[in-house]
Subunit: 246 residues, 2 copies
């Protein structure tokens, strides 16, 4: 199995952003890290971390990230961005991290290549996952191990910037959505309020936001018009306009 030789000092870590259409909230998928002392059963470590793993000797970085996401969520083909490498020699040297690493036997000096993924929480089935994975609101994170708080915050900053410039927002929405759905996602990610009339006009004017011959069904109030996003149209009309905005 030469395929499975690990590079013990290089890993990928995955920041999994999940948007929940029901609660209209941006969430983060974290896994539990728990360790008891063998002698007196004292709780040594009890917090959360990002999902991640070492890269294999013959594996591309992107493939390692995709593998790690798949193991946790079963999902493939999700939007993925490699956004930063973290390699501070002391990044795994907090007290709890040292206890954990003694137990798990990996390298204290591990450089991690951090990715973030965009998924819909509804697509993830957590009922029988063995990692005790849970969704947490981006605004109410639990205690985090390693340097994962830092990684998460940097991923979030990158996401905020990126969703202003590229149509990644639609990765977090179902294929058919209402204008207000889109507004809700922006408001959740950016943590701002947006004027509905202006937002609506702006979006409807985009040629790649295509109204469908369909309205919401099963909704208890006035059903809203559904739209789809056409990546084809977007890609065709897209020309970098080089607007200097400093």
């Amino acid at each position: 199995m030469t395929e499975l030789i690990k590079n013990s000092n290089i890993s990928v870590d995955c920041v999994v952003f999940g948007y929940d259409t029901n609660t209209k909230s941006l969430n983060l998928l974290l896994i539990k890290r728990y360790l008891e002392s063998e002698t007196d059963h004292k709780v040594l470590v009890d917090d959360y971390v990002l999902t991640g793993y070492h890269i294999y000797e013959h594996e591309k970085l992107d493939d390692a990230a995709t593998r790690v996401l798949k193991e946790l969520t079963g999902l493939t083909n999700q939007y993925k961005k490699q956004f930063k490498a973290f390699g501070d020699p002391d990044r795994l040297r907090n007290e709890k991290d040292i206890l954990w690493i003694d137990n798990e036997k990996f390298n204290f000096r591990t450089v991690t290549i951090a990715y973030y993924f965009l998924v819909k929480t509804e697509d993830v089935d957590l009922t029988h996952n063995k990692n005790q994975a849970e969704w947490f609101s981006i605004h109410q994170l639990p205690e985090l191990g390693f340097d994962h708080k830092k990684i998460i915050l940097e991923a979030y900053e990158d996401l905020k910037t990126k969703c202003l410039a590229e149509p990644i927002i639609f990765e977090l929405l179902p294929n058919k959505f209402t204008i207000n759905d889109v507004q809700d996602v922006y408001e959740s990610i950016l943590d701002i309020e947006i004027d509905n009339r202006n937002f609506r006009r702006k979006l409807i004017n985009k040629k790649y936001i295509i109204p469908l011959d369909e309205k919401q069904i099963g909704v208890s109030k006035k059903p809203a018009q559904l739209y789809m996003f056409s990546k084809d149209v977007y890609d065709k009309m897209y020309e970098k306009n080089y607007l200097i905005n400093i």
Copy 2:
């Protein structure tokens, strides 16, 4: 010397962008890679690569990049951005790379953390550098080893995007510059033409572009007004305006 234990499978590579005010061109600093066969003196490898090196066991990634830049140029405190990690298992496995690595004895599976730096070519003294470093126009690159062409192109794309959104352009200019100098840098980086009247109005209206009581001297035609960029003013007035621009 435990400080100097190398991580033989992790490196940093530095894309050094240099703007030459005289030729008004964006350049790249590359070092020569040359190898002859010991037996018949046939030229085995003769091309250029980015400057880079392995990281030391107790060294931060940023510090490794800074060290590498300093060794090549003598410069410190330059604008620096870690923009991507490259870790394809075959990234160092072209024919010439294999010959080179056999000679230099490092790991075929090296993940490199790529940085780019912004410098002024006039600040770099290449007259007695031992790496045979040379400046090349970003639009006329020589043959490049490893996956460094790919790394350079991705750095350049990132630079183009970033200079539209953040005032990094001034890293490439002297402290005192004319409005036309700034326009020249934008035109060089973005490879576009900009209307001088519109550009001038736009820049002069920025509060952080401060006119000095000085004009160009030693210039053979009408001397232009000099300005400076105030990072303080910029930072103070800067508020993220969350303009959705998709």
